[in-house]
Point group: C2
Chain length 167, copies 2
């Protein structure tokens, strides 16, 4: 096999994200999913998802809310929280606990326990899939525990920022 993967050298997690494609794919994926599951991708839900996928970075609920307001929707908190919770339930959005923020999933097709890698300096956030995270759960010690949800966030400094560190 040994087929050379595109971007093999630039597989650093903060690079290699073709967001143009990502954006389009994501919209298509959510549309398909909602049809298949007979859910309503209402204007509000679509807008919230678009807001999050637009720059593909974590946004606070109140930031989302503000953008909703500018787009003509109500901007009272429950509006944002409800839709965000809904999108989270269906795997299109994740909450980044360390930032109290919400981010569009990078690959909703994978059912996953994603890892988020967060640079404290440039504040970039990358979602790393289960298979690639190096995470290997469950182990014997937690075999008796049924994992339903994970929060895995690695905070630190990316190589770009480290090289630029002054101190």
């Amino acid at each position: 096999m040994k087929k050379k993967k595109k971007n093999e050298n630039s597989s650093k997690i903060f690079l290699g994200h073709d967001h143009g494609a990502c954006f389009g794919d994501a919209i298509t994926q959510i549309e398909d999913y909602f049809i298949q599951k007979k859910l309503q991708l209402t204007p509000l839900r679509r807008k919230v998802f678009e807001i999050l996928i637009e720059d593909h970075k974590p946004l606070g609920a109140y930031e989302v809310l503000e953008k909703l307001g500018k787009a003509g929707f109500s901007s009272s908190p429950p509006i944002a929280y409800r839709v965000l919770d809904f999108l989270i339930e269906h795997g299109f959005v994740h909450k980044v606990q360390g930032l109290n923020a919400f981010i569009a999933c990078s690959n909703p097709k994978h059912s996953h326990f994603p890892t988020f890698v967060i640079c404290r300096k440039c504040e970039k956030v990358a979602e790393v899939s289960e298979e690639k995270s190096g995470l290997n759960l469950p182990n014997p010690e937690i075999t008796n525990f049924k994992i339903e949800k994970t929060t895995i966030e690695l905070t630190g400094i990316c190589s770009t920022c480290e090289n630029a560190e002054i101190r």
Copy 2:
């Protein structure tokens, strides 16, 4: 070698915690650490730690605050947050992000990236050490990222609660 470990069979993470010993050890450990590092284990700091280690379960900052008040300390929010932050810095307390709560470390001697296992039903929380968590980081994909801090929380249902599930 093959020396049989104590509690080998009861190594389920929610069991096998001798809290009597844990409590005493923890106090001794924090005292030693503070002396060694020339830090002040003031009455306030000691009390906050005691509050957290007492029942050894996660408490919200405002719960800690209330207990501080009852013990004769000030109960304005910054008091709790400052001391909690301080204890976190020195590894004696962790924040459980998923619960907005604070918990005494189960083993401050280990420098660690702990995993928290949280039963959503009985709300028990267990801290699993790095070596035992099955976590295996960094992996090739995140080699260029310098991890400074981790948040790893596994939420689900423990075997005890699962067996008792009605639905």
